[in-house]
């Protein structure tokens, strides 16, 4: 019985080898096109603190922190921040403030702190730090209360 089994197995093996030897090969071609893409994932919002002379409210000041965003891109895109247009200030603050958003990036692309648009040509992932600084001139000072701003980080 075991002899019959062995013979059958051998016959199947030979038949398989025969089949493989006769088989032809075909190339299957895969094409793929990736258009410029970009993903922004906000990790943390920022915090602004006042300077000792109360003329600066900034994420750069001691105790302040930048907002962080993860950028992943194929390249062929541009990164920028918009001027701050909407700001909530306490009612006691009636004087004008100049708001300056900036960003920097570390990772696949090293971008020094800037407020201008940056062209990203190569693929990779970065951690983008977003800062916001408000300054008052002359004798004006930041007031007691809550300030809130929204910085738009754009990838296009």
């Amino acid at each position: 019985m075991s002899l019959v089994r062995a013979a059958c197995a051998a016959a199947l093996l030979v038949a398989g080898i025969d089949e493989a030897a006769l088989a032809t090969t075909q190339n299957v071609i895969f094409n793929g096109t990736i258009a410029p893409t970009c993903t922004l994932v906000v990790a943390t919002n920022g915090t602004m603190t006042a300077s000792p002379d109360l003329q600066s409210l900034s994420s750069h000041n001691g105790g302040g922190s930048a907002g962080t965003v993860t950028l992943t891109t194929t390249g062929g895109v541009s990164l920028s921040v918009d001027p701050v247009t909407t700001m909530t200030v306490p009612s006691a603050d009636s004087t004008s403030t100049t708001w300056t958003p900036t960003y920097s990036a570390a990772g696949a692309h090293a971008i020094g702190e800037t407020g201008s648009a940056t062209s990203i040509t190569t693929p990779g992932a970065d951690l983008v730090s977003v800062h916001l600084a408000g300054t008052k001139g002359g004798s004006n000072r930041f007031a007691n209360g809550n300030y809130q701003a929204t910085v738009t980080l754009r990838c296009e």
Partner: protein, 130 residues
């Protein structure tokens, strides 16, 4: 025929994760020819976060001025890791061609002192054919 089926299945399996998870909006570039007074673009915003976010779609011209386009839907909630299609219909307003930006915007962590609005903009060029 069999090879075609295998190829189609492989492409579908291979490309599906890219479309579903790896982008905040796709496509980000496009040229559209239209024989009418408007041109239409279908974009797919995606939510890369592990929780639901509110998404807004805005259409701007080259100077970032709002364009009176029809966006459906223009505001919606998007589940974690999900994407959905949005139809944008842009009028030519009498011009032979028009360049617009279609932007996906979201503020994933609202009510903070310094909020960050993430904005992904695609550039689209519509050309009117007569």
């Amino acid at each position: 025929m069999k090879h075609a089926r295998i190829l189609a299945t492989a492409l579908a399996v291979g490309l599906a994760p890219i479309a579903a998870k790896a982008q905040s909006m796709s496509p980000m570039r496009g040229e559209i020819n239209s024989f009418t007074d408007v041109f239409a673009v279908r974009v797919f915003p995606a939510n890369p976060y592990d929780r639901k976010i509110r998404v807004e779609i805005h259409v701007y011209d080259q100077d970032f001025q709002p364009v009176d386009a029809r966006v459906s839907p223009n505001v919606f909630q998007l589940a974690s890791q999900a994407s959905r299609s949005v139809l944008v219909v842009v009028p030519f307003d009498g011009a032979a061609e028009r360049k617009v930006r279609i932007c996906t915007e979201s503020i994933p962590f609202p009510n903070q002192q310094t909020q960050i609005r993430a904005q992904i903009c695609g550039k689209f060029f519509g050309r009117r054919k007569s």
